[in-house]
Amino acid sequence: MEGVKLTISLIIAIVLQWTLRNVWEPLAYIDLPLIIVVYAALQRNSIRALLFGSIAGLSVDALSGGLLGANGFSKTIVAYIVCEITRRVYMDNLILRIPVIAGACLLDDMIYYGLHRLFGQPPGNDVLVTAAYSLIGTTIAGTLVYLLLQSLSGERTRRKKRDVFAPRRQTRRRNPIRLGK
């Protein structure tokens, strides 16, 4: 069920990425497929995350003026690194996920730009400015999307939250009077 939900989210993200720039130019700075790829990687299913990274990247590349495969390459690497981090560090808290999405966005942009330079097709945009706007847009949008996805995941998440944030069992204090006794 989780897989179906994520696949649908990825398809919606790709379609929105294809169309949102038509509606309002600055929306292009939000990398919606990357947000879903990182979310998939945070679920500790590395195979799904890697496949999502490649498919999402290639779908964006196909309609872009850039190199076909550059986004696929960068998102696959990002998915793998986030998976490895998630394997070692506990990442179920939303506060911890915000720097992860920010770092993933920055890494994705750097790899994408580097690949285009490598193949002699550097983008005309100012790298720092574009990467900065992309970082801000994707991090804010990513936080909102994660909140939405968590609220959609329903009972399973609530159960998980209950387990994680369960109230501490109060140990009975010893009676000092009895102790004195």
Binding site: A28, S46, L50, L51, L68
Partner: protein, 299 residues
């Protein structure tokens, strides 16, 4: 369905990653080669599929935007109407004069037995998609090979030059704008045949401005002068307006001018464009190859 343990998944992941990276890298290598040499097949077919999503979305969003803009435009409609009526009368007079000139031109051509080297029609197209990546600025329009569009055909608006077609699917095609830093347009400052300020116009990283290179420093150049295509680059026909000069750093006898140009076409706000069904006249064999580079062995 085979259930894999978490350990198997972790073991498999690096190999899957390497395989996916290789696939993406090979695609990139092929695409980098095809950018200059020819049709980008995977891209054009994906665009055709995406067209079924993009076209309805663009239609809906533009309808909503047009509705609101039409409300705001109603205010100035009366004034515009008076101005336009006057303009129509002026244009009618101009048209009469131009018809006479065209007829005279035809008579003179037939007299001199000149033939047109190339003829082209304009195919109007609607922009249905913009580049989903923020790094590039290509556009996707709703005309493809079924409408007669071919690779490298020039794209214009009423303002001036927009770019060229870089990938063609059956229903859609991709247009690379002149602002892309890899683009190159053979251009001249002033009218073709009247000026010797020739150069190459390409995109810059400075927003939407273009740069004109290789204009000799000894030629007088001023801000505000118009720049037109020369037709010598084998892609664009001569006489298309590229833009106007907004900045000049004057060169010397040995260094060229540094010229920045504001594109004539409104590249950020355009909704419709025209594709010129133009094929540049084929060059002679000796122009395509250097004489000393040919390796034909005559026996």
């Amino acid at each position: 369905m085979v259930e894999r343990s978490q350990k198997d998944v972790w073991r498999l992941a690096p190999w899957l990653m390497i395989a996916l990276l290789i696939v993406n890298f090979v695609l990139m290598a092929f695409d980098a080669k095809e950018i200059t040499s020819g049709q980008r097949v995977v891209r054009s077919w994906t665009q055709t599929i995406a067209d079924f999503v993009q076209s309805p979305v663009t239609t809906v969003t533009s309808a909503v935007a047009n509705y609101f803009s039409s409300i705001s435009n109603l205010r100035s409609a009366q004034t515009d109407n008076d101005v336009l009526k006057q303009r129509v009368q002026e244009l009618e007079v101009e048209l009469k004069q131009k018809e006479e000139l065209a007829a005279e031109n035809t008579r003179l051509r037939s007299f001199l037995q000149l033939k047109e080297t190339s003829k082209y029609k304009i195919l109007t197209a609607r922009i249905i998609g913009r580049d989903p990546s923020v790094w590039f600025d290509s556009s996707i329009v709703n005309r493809g090979s079924l409408d007669g569009v071919q690779l490298n055909m020039p794209v214009v608006t009423d303002g001036g030059l927009v770019g060229r077609v870089t990938a063609v699917g059956p229903l859609t095609c991709q247009v690379d704008l002149v602002t892309r830093n890899k683009s190159g347009v053979g251009a001249v400052i002033g009218q073709v045949g009247e000026s010797n300020a020739l150069g190459v116009v390409s995109g810059t990283s400075k927003g939407d401005l273009l740069e004109m290179r290789y204009v000799a420093g000894s030629v007088a150049v001023e801000v505000g002068q118009a720049v037109f295509t020369t037709g010598q680059d084998g892609i664009y026909p001569a006489g298309l307006k590229v833009g106007e000069i907004v900045s000049v750093v004057t060169g010397s006898a040995t260094t060229p001018h540094q010229i920045l140009i504001q594109p004539a076409a409104k590249l950020n706000s355009m909704q419709e464009v025209g594709i010129l069904l133009y094929e540049a006249a084929s060059r002679e064999q000796f122009e395509q190859k250097l004489p000393n580079a040919t390796k034909d062995v005559k026996k």
